[in-house]
Amino acid sequence: MRAAVLAVALASVAALSGCEREKRDFEPPTGSASGAAATRNVSVRAGPGEPIETARLATTQDRRDEYNAFLVNQGKRLFRWYNCNGCHAQGGGNMGPPLMDDKWLYGHRPAEIYASIVEGRPKGMPAFGGRIPEDQLWQLVAYVRSLSGQLRKDVAPSRADGLAGAPPENVRDIERPVQQPAPKP
C-alpha cells in the first residue's frame, strides 16, 4: 500500500518535472509589460550588492526559466546571436571572464547575473538594459548558469551543431560558486 502511494507520488513528481521541463513558452510571462517596467526601475537603481531588489526578482522571475529546457536552449541561441561569445568564448572566457568555472565576480544568483547583463559591468561588459527584452534576459541568465552546471542535467542544453568546444552543458558537473571580490572600477 505504502509502496503504491510512494510510486504514485514519484510518478507525479516525474510528471510535473517533465511538463515543467518540456513546456514551449511562446507568450512572454503574463504581465510582462509591467514586469519590464519594474525591472527597468531595478536596472536603474539596483547595483552590485543590492540584495533586496535582486532577491525580489529572484523569487519572481528565475524559476520559470531554470527548469525549462526550451527556454534555456533559447538562452543558448541568444548567447550566440548577441555575440556573447565575442568576449566570453563558449563560456571559456577571453576578453571577458570565463562563465563555466566556479568564480563569480558579481554573484551567481539569477538576479545578480540579470543585473550584470542589464547594467553592464566595469572593464567592458556593456549594459543591455532596454536592448534585450525581459523574457530573453531571463533565458540568457538561465543559460549562463547552465554553463557552470548550476541547472539540472536534464534541463541544461546539449551540444550545439558547431565546433566542439568544452563538453556540452548537460554533462558538466556543478561548480560550487565562490564569490570573488568585485574589482573596483
Binding site: R24, F26, E27, W81, Y82, G130, R131, P133, Q136, D161
Partner: protein
C-alpha cells in the same frame, strides 16, 4: 453484390475523371500550383505529368474493369461449396496466357514511363544558363535570406522573403541553410530542392511571363514551417534593373520628425539586436534585412500584407500571429511604435 461491383467501377471512373478534370479546371493558372506552369522547367514537368496521367489512368481502369468482369462472370458459392483442387497439379493455359499478357503489357508501359521520366530529368538539367542571374538563398527558421551576388562585389545586396527575377532570363539559386533543413519550392516555376546545413545545392529556373508566384518551405523545419513562404516576382528586365538599383542603395534618410523618432526607436530598442538597416549602425544579420522593407509586398515571410496596420500588429506581438517565431514581442509605448512603423514603412 452486383450493386457493389457497379459502385466500385463507377467510383473508379469518377475518381480518375475527377483527377483529369481537376488538372484543367480547379487549378487556376498563377495560383500556388504545380500544374499551372509559368516557366520552362515547370512546363516540362507538366508535360511528363500528362503522360503519366494518361498511361496510369488507362492501366487503372483496365485492371478494375477486368476485376469487375471476373466478379460478374464467376458463379456464386458458399462455404459449403466443395473446393475445386483439380487444377492443383494441372496447367491452366487460359489464365496463364492472360496473366502473361498483363505482365508483359505492364513491363512495356513501365519502360515507356521510365524513359520519359529520365529524359525529362536530363532536359531539366540542361536549361541553357548563359547570362544567368546568380543569387544565394539561405534558409533560416523561419524566413528566407536572399543575396544577389553583384559584380563588382560592391553591387551585392541582401533582401528577404521576396525574390525578384527578370522574365526570360535563367536564374541560378545557390541554396544554403543556417540552421535546419528547409526546402525551396515555387510550384509554378520548378521542382523543389532542399537547403541542407553543411552542404550547398543549386536550383535553376526561368520565368516565362511577368507575375507573382508564391513559394514555400516544403521540408518540415519546426514551429512555423507552415508560414515560411516567400514570393517570386517576375519583372520585365527594365523593371528588374530599376528594382535592383533601388535595393543596392542605402536606407532612405528620415524626412520628418516622426520618421527620425522612428529611427531612434529602432536603434535604441530591441530591434537592433537582430535586424540590419543599411546606412545605420544596425548591422545584425540574425533576422531579415530591413534596409528596404517598405518596398516589399509581404511581412513575416509571406504571412501578412505589408501595411502599417499589420506591421503594428506584427511588432506588438508576433507570437500571436506566428507562435514560436524568434521575434520577441515588444513593450514599446504606442507613440514610439507608430513612429517605428512609419519609419520602416518609409524604407522603400
Amino acid at each position: 453484390m452486383k450493386r457493389a461491383l457497379h459502385l466500385v467501377v463507377a467510383v473508379a471512373f469518377a475518381l480518375a475523371g475527377a483527377l483529369a478534370w481537376a488538372q484543367r479546371t480547379v487549378l487556376q493558372p498563377g495560383a500556388h500550383d504545380a500544374l499551372a506552369p509559368a516557366g520552362p522547367q515547370a512546363a516540362r514537368i507538366g508535360d511528363l505529368w500528362d503522360l503519366f496521367m494518361v498511361i496510369c489512368g488507362i492501366v487503372f481502369a483496365a485492371v478494375l474493369i477486368t476485376l469487375a468482369v471476373a466478379l460478374r462472370r464467376a458463379p456464386r458459392a458458399d462455404a459449403g461449396t466443395p473446393a475445386d483442387v483439380s487444377m492443383a497439379d494441372r496447367h491452366e493455359p487460359g489464365p496463364y496466357r492472360s496473366v502473361l499478357v498483363g505482365v508483359g503489357a505492364s513491363i512495356v508501359l513501365l519502360f515507356v514511363l521510365l524513359v520519359a521520366s529520365v529524359s525529362t530529368d536530363r532536359a531539366l538539367a540542361r536549361l541553357p544558363l548563359q547570362g544567368a542571374l546568380n543569387l544565394t538563398v539561405t534558409g533560416h527558421q523561419w524566413w528566407w535570406e536572399i543575396r544577389y551576388d553583384g559584380d563588382p562585389v560592391s553591387e551585392t545586396f541582401t533582401t528577404a522573403n521576396e525574390l525578384h527575377v527578370p522574365v526570360g532570363r535563367p536564374v541560378v539559386v545557390t541554396l544554403r541553410s543556417d540552421d535546419v533543413i528547409h526546402s525551396l519550392w515555387v510550384p509554378a516555376l520548378a521542382g523543389k530542392k532542399d537547403l541542407i546545413p553543411g552542404r550547398t545545392a543549386t536550383l535553376q529556373f526561368q520565368a516565362a511571363q511577368p507575375g507573382t508566384y508564391r513559394g514555400q518551405c516544403a521540408e518540415f523545419c519546426g514551429f512555423q514551417h507552415a508560414w515560411m513562404a516567400f514570393e517570386v516576382i517576375a519583372d520585365t528586365p527594365e523593371q528588374f534593373a530599376a528594382w535592383a538599383a533601388r535595393q543596392r542603395a542605402e536606407a532612405a534618410e528620415p524626412t520628418d520628425e516622426k520618421l527620425r523618432r522612428g529611427r531612434e526607436v529602432f536603434l535604441g530598442s530591441t530591434c537592433v539586436m537582430c535586424h540590419a538597416i543599411g546606412g545605420t549602425d544596425a548591422s545584425a544579420r540574425k533576422a531579415p534585412d530591413l534596409t528596404h522593407v517598405g518596398s516589399r509586398t509581404t511581412l513575416a515571410a509571406g504571412t501578412l500584407r505589408n501595411d502599417a496596420e499589420s506591421m503594428t500588429r506584427w511588432i506588438r506581438n508576433p507570437q500571436q500571429i506566428k507562435p514560436g517565431v524568434n521575434m520577441p514581442s515588444s513593450t514599446l509605448a504606442d507613440a514610439d511604435l507608430q513612429a517605428l512603423v512609419a519609419y520602416l514603412g518609409s524604407l522603400k
